[in-house]
Amino acid sequence: MKNKKLSQKQIQQRLHSRRQFLIGSGYFCLSLPPLLSLMPRQVLAQVAGQKTVRYVSCLGQLGIDYHQWTPAEQADLMQIAGQTDMWYKPLANFAGPLSRVVDSSFQDLYPYMNVISGMSITGGDYQGHNNSVLSGTHSGHRSPIYGKSIDVIIEQSPNVYKATDVVHRKAIRMHDHDHVKGYSFDRNADGSRAISQHLQGDVALFNALMTGLSNGGPQGPTQAQTNKENVVDQVFNDLKALENNKRISKSDKELLDRYISGISDLQKKVKNNVTLPPSCTQPTVNFEVQGKGNYWKFPTGSGWGVNSIDAMYDNYIEMFKLAAMCDQTRVFHWALSRWDDAVVPGGTAGGLHHEAPSSEVQADRQQYFVKKMSQLARAFRDTPDPINGGNLLDNSIIFYTNELGAWTTAHNIWNIPTISFGNGGGKISSGNFIDCRQRPLQKQKGYYPGRPYKQFLQAVMASMGVTKAEYMQFGDGNGFGEFNDTVNQFGFNKTLFSQYANEHNDPLPFFYTG
């Protein structure tokens, strides 16, 4: 390559004219980025608008008949302003048990609860199991397959886990049986489903979630936190060394100076992570799982040796609570599947699928898990939140749902059971029975169509900090999930959901207040 020095005249010719300089300065001033180190301290507090919110989904196979989980008496419902098909009534205004599933034992949680009826999958033209329910679609049984489940979208959102956050695991997924119906899935490069990895049993949960906590010794930063600080420090040192390199040009040095200033800000953010309470140490757990067998045999098949399934679930709940408090993860997904009666305490015969002898028995079996969710909600309610203040339930969204809206063979995807706990960091209203069935009430082949279920999921995501632009990417091309206003379920071919064409990508109103 040629090597000629520039003359002084040539160098001077390169200088910008005054006009060019002013234009350049104008661009620079107008586009000056908001580097943290240049901002007043009070602005820094305003930047952090979104609270750290925890997500817990509990999903059961099949469903529960509408009348088993919603109030028998639905008089005195109040219409929600501006909505033709949303009515509500405070849960506290219902006398006695709300329903067979939501009995009187839930009353202390009413201020944090919602029971939402009418949530309907607005896609698909097929009655059948719906292991896509958490993606707001009914596409699992046919092609194309749309979207991602919301626990995956939440886990991958940079607005949920920010660059400076240090957590042990971004998501934890438990499954008790039938792994391929885990309901949680990402997408492979070829567009096919990538079923999320699930764990089984309290030993696996402990190993995945509790090893990030110190083992009872003096409280110190975790290994991941220490590494993260070291890495950012080293990047800073590399840049400082680079800045002093004599072959860095003046204009490049100016750019690097700005970059170094930004890395300096990053160092502060990484080191200013929340100080967790001293109780964030590894718990002592009396494990109920004694062995390990084939996953489809869990938890009662040969090889597993679970002492008490109920006690094992209690271990889950305690570890979920501790992990939420100590920010070991913010996403919990607990998928339930078909058990025999050994799993459901008090069960007498059959499983949770077609085997249940009646609508009532099916409801009672599902109620066991709704009550486990209420147990988790109470544990969250009674635990201070060291990150946001208040209690964990204030800053969590926990929900129980099913894949279908009916028991046994109907496989109806309308009126899916939807019971929530928590206020989602102040973005979720609570304390209500919310009836979203379409008005005037009119059954179609015995079932009520209602609002898009995906609006509920969108509200959950929004409360976690996922933006509309983010979740809109994952669906049928028209937004999150699947929206087909001429859905042909049960042989009908009518514009069942046309009235939601303009709002189906918004979070569920009234429920979502963010």
Binding site: R14, S31, A163, D238, L255, L256
Partner: protein, 570 residues
């Protein structure tokens, strides 16, 4: 009706020479060229040893995305799409494509977040982990030297050079710092992906033969510069191997790699990106709300995407499949429109196979495709077409009007009633008749007039449909189109044309188009505005483009693998 077209042409001709000197000027690295007798085609190459300053750039979002895919695979890329979405696109000047070299806290946080996400994904999956760190990384107790696999192999791809001793030491200590090994590997990968040597395209040279004004690049730095210029990504294995063996030491070796890389799918995409940018393919307007009488039976669903897609197919066909020249690109009548609406616009049946159709009527080449011609109102935008064409395709510096001039222009606008009896051309001529306006509009208007035989969908027409904007865009009448005009080009060359077809032919014949394209290719590839000292390089590129027998791709190779690829001018 306002006069006739002859009168307008006389006014334009008479006023153009006097007024044009008040409006911008054709691009030259020497502004004195403006309104002189010289042509913008004439670059002033006086010292081939000189070149303009090269600034270090951060990887753009596209480059980082490509790099992640090339280094770690498409599965990882998909899995970190959420983190990637937080990173904004770099800001490039709309005309000169010069990168606005700004750095924000949000951008740094995004780089940090992306590095963390990639590291977690790669280390979390056994196959991907072993691909990066070797099989020993999955053993129960990896030995202290296990990390050497990474240091000596994969890290070279990330850093785009062998690691320095201090970098190797830091990585080795981090990997063996105790605790969970995989947690440490995540930190190692996260560090590597946040290193300024990965995120910045830094050129520090090697050896001692540098001057204060110029640094001479190492073989690895040449490989990096070449790679990002051709495929917008990190060097591939062949390029790194060539750098290691010192086989990027002369232009012949470098050009061979440039040609190889440009032929790859990513290289072809880069050329398609480049020419789409030049063709203003991203300017397609929303045509979904135009009057029904104007829309007719045109299929609108997916039309805008089809415009962009077809243009890219066309570019790849001409540049790569046919090894066509600049002239071929500008004059070919081939169309690949498979979308019913776009095919109707282009005047042929939808293309169903690989064989192209042919444009109907007076339409040719890259610049008469629909995306440039669309407008979101029933009256086409003569001014936007004129300004865009002059700036992007003839490299004429048309300034934005100041508020006072816009006030003069608005004051001369026709009334609503007059507009119902007036063609778009007549309306614009009347609205911009003020001598202050004509300073620029003597150039802008004739260029826009030449395209008036294309409606707001980009369809050919010989009658203009007039609609009443105050009566729900109801149809009023048709008026005949007049596209005859005189286009002022550089060097006071006034070129009479009967329509835009003639204009395109003229810009090809005169070399004006090739000259301007050489500047735009330079701007796109190097993300900076050319300077006077770049004229020798521009001259070479121009000569290649202006040669009807030379493939356009050769000019691109000449531009990228140029005399100065081995040096960084400060």
């Amino acid at each position: 009706m306002l006069g006739n077209s002859k009168i307008i042409r006389m006014i334009l001709l008479g006023s153009a020479v006097l007024l044009y000197q008040n409006c911008g000027g054709f691009e030259s690295t020497e502004q004195a060229l403006l309104a002189s007798s010289s042509s913008a085609v004439s670059f002033k190459c006086t010292d081939d040893s000189q070149a303009s300053e090269t600034k270090s750039l951060l990887l753009s979002k596209q480059q980082l995305t490509n790099a992640i895919e090339d280094l770690f695979g498409v599965t990882t890329l998909n899995n970190v799409s959420g983190a990637l979405s937080s990173l904004g696109e770099p800001i490039n000047d709309s005309t000169t494509h010069a990168r606005q070299s700004l750095v924000s806290s949000a951008e740094i946080d995004s780089f940090h977040s992306i590095a963390q996400a990639v590291a977690a994904d790669v280390v979390g999956a056994q196959s991907r982990r072993e691909n990066v760190f070797g099989a020993c990384a999955s053993m129960a107790t990896p030995g202290p030297n296990c990390i050497d696999n990474f240091i000596n192999n994969f890290a070279v791809k990330i850093f785009r050079r062998p690691l320095k001793p201090e970098e190797s030491t830091f990585i080795k200590n981090l990997a063996n710092s105790g605790g969970d090994y995989l947690t440490n590997l995540e930190a190692v990968l996260s560090y590597s992906l946040q290193s300024p040597y990965f995120l910045w395209r830094l050129e520090l040279g090697e050896g001692g033969n540098h001057t204060p004004e110029r640094t001479y690049l190492s073989q690895y730095e040449i490989a990096t510069r070449l790679s990002f210029a051709t495929i917008d990504s990190v060097p591939d294995d062949a390029l790194l191997a060539a750098a290691k063996q010192g086989q990027l030491s002369n232009l012949a070796q470098i050009k061979a790699h440039a040609e190889r890389l440009l032929q790859t799918p990513r290289g072809q995409e880069k050329v398609a990106d480049m020419l789409s940018w030049w063709a203003l393919a991203d300017r397609a307007k929303d045509v979904s709300n135009l009057p029904a009488e104007l829309t007719g039976s045109l299929e609108l669903d997916g039309l805008n995407e089809a415009m962009s897609d077809e243009l890219r197919v066309f570019v790849k066909q001409i540049v790569f499949q046919e090894q066509g020249s600049f002239r071929d690109l500008m004059t070919s009548k081939k169309s690949f429109a498979s979308h019913a609406g776009l095919a109707e616009i282009y005047g042929h049946n939808p293309v169903t196979g690989v064989q192209p159709a042919s444009f109907g009527g007076r339409r040719q080449g890259l610049l008469m495709r629909a995306s440039f011609l669309t407008h979101d109102t029933f009256r086409t935008s003569i001014i936007h077409r004129g300004v865009d064409f002059q700036k992007r395709y003839l490299c004429n510096n048309i300034p934005s009007p100041n508020v006072n001039i816009m006030g003069d222009r608005d004051a001369d606008a026709l009334t609503h009633a007059e507009l119902l009896e007036t063609t778009n051309r007549e309306s614009i001529a009347h609205q911009t008749k003020d001598p202050v306006c004509m300073g620029c509009h003597s150039v802008i208007n004739p260029t826009g007039f030449a395209f008036e035989n294309f409606d707001s969908f980009g369809r050919l027409r010989d009658q203009e449909m007039i609609f009443d904007s105050e009566d729900n865009n109801s149809f009023v009448r048709t008026l005949p189109i007049d596209t005859n005009t005189v286009i002022p080009m550089s060097g006071n060359n006034d070129v009479p044309v009967s329509d835009a077809y003639d204009l395109i032919t003229s810009m090809v014949e005169t070399g004006e188009g090739a000259a301007c394209m050489s500047r735009n290719l330079f701007r796109y590839v190097f993300e900076k505005r050319e300077e006077r000292v770049d004229d020798c390089e521009l001259q070479r590129v121009y000569e290649g483009l202006n040669n009807p027998d030379q493939p356009l791709l050769e000019a691109v190779v000449e531009l990228i693998a140029n005399e100065h690829i081995g040096e960084k001018v400060h």
